[in-house]
Point group: C2
Chain length 206, copies 2
Amino acid sequence: MEQKEIGVDTRTRGRPRAYDPDVALQRAMDAFWKSGYSGTSLDDIAHATGMNRPSLRAAFGDKRDLYLKALRAYWGFKLATMAKTLAGGTLGEALLRTYDAALTVYFSEEEGARGCFVVGTAITESVDDPEIREIVATGFGALDRLFVDRIAQARDAGELTGDVDPAALAILACGTMQTIALRARAGFARETLWGIAQKAVAVICR
Amino acid sequence: MEQKEIGVDTRTRGRPRAYDPDVALQRAMDAFWKSGYSGTSLDDIAHATGMNRPSLRAAFGDKRDLYLKALRAYWGFKLATMAKTLAGGTLGEALLRTYDAALTVYFSEEEGARGCFVVGTAITESVDDPEIREIVATGFGALDRLFVDRIAQARDAGELTGDVDPAALAILACGTMQTIALRARAGFARETLWGIAQKAVAVICR
DNA sequence: AGGATTTTGTGCGAGATGGAACAAAAAGAA
DNA sequence: TTCTTTTTGTTCCATCTCGCACAAAATCCT
């Protein structure tokens, strides 16, 4: 007995799904990424995903549920990517690799830059929504730890001169990534932002 | 012939205004600052300002016009404040004074932190609105110049050791201010953010 | 084939949102 | 006092937004 290809899962009955949940979630994330949570309507998302609104609700819950799923998915992707790009090579190489990967995400939309999903959308909602605020704060904490650990490793390996505090350098490294994200969304060119990354790394690693 | 106190201006006829335009604009800014542009309705603003919606429109134009006025007013205030806080003393003192003043703004709302008006609201709208995007990019450029000039001044005064690039240090200083703004809105405590500022300054000024 | 289950698609409704119309209120000028 | 001007306040309107109801479609099971 062969499963059909559309909506492949272990369901045994009923009309098959006309969408892939992961693809739909990504499309919804794309819509939110452009216009923010409040500025994106369910019709916008329906159009982006090719699904009708009742189907969206059945699959993901209400608009806020969907946004929370997208936000958590973005954090999962972001932190996993950074764990990889920060590993190996010198600290300078690791940081540049990390900023390059970030730039690729920030410019991953064909019609223009969209920056970071957290900085571009969640920060605006976080004052009014405690759960979003908590997710963002937790994510920032994890981001900090990734930077601190990598920088501490470089210090222990003798890569850094002077009496450096990894936590302090991590703040600068994180701030650099975030100013790049903000500027991407403000229309700065990718090459300009790459130049910013290089300048910051030169100071952090001296 | 004495002017009345309410709605004091040089108008010669008609019913006097029941509001002060500057105060009303500040109240509207407060409302946008909390929930972002798209998340704030005209009724929200009417409530915050004590004005009816037709009066708001007569005074400021439509919702977007009002938001643009608030955004420009914020930039004017922000850059003027920074020009003052960056002047005088050592570079370290100037930077700490600047971050302290920024923190005061970011925590200027009684019920909780609101961060920076640009980072918290304009960044979300900037992908869809070219004029907002332009205002933000111009403001970031002015911010950069303030930092670069102050750091170049400190280098020329012999305050900085080694072969430093003011533009590179300015990126770090700006990134630090922005990560503080993001974190304020994400619920970080003021004392924590002050600690972040101090660590960053210690590295920038070494 | 009929019944059960799951998903899609269409239409409807309540409430929210931004804008407009215009009468009433409050002032100055003649 | 009447007229003119400016502002406020109330009401109405068109459209948008989100949620729901439910019939139809597409599958599996008996």
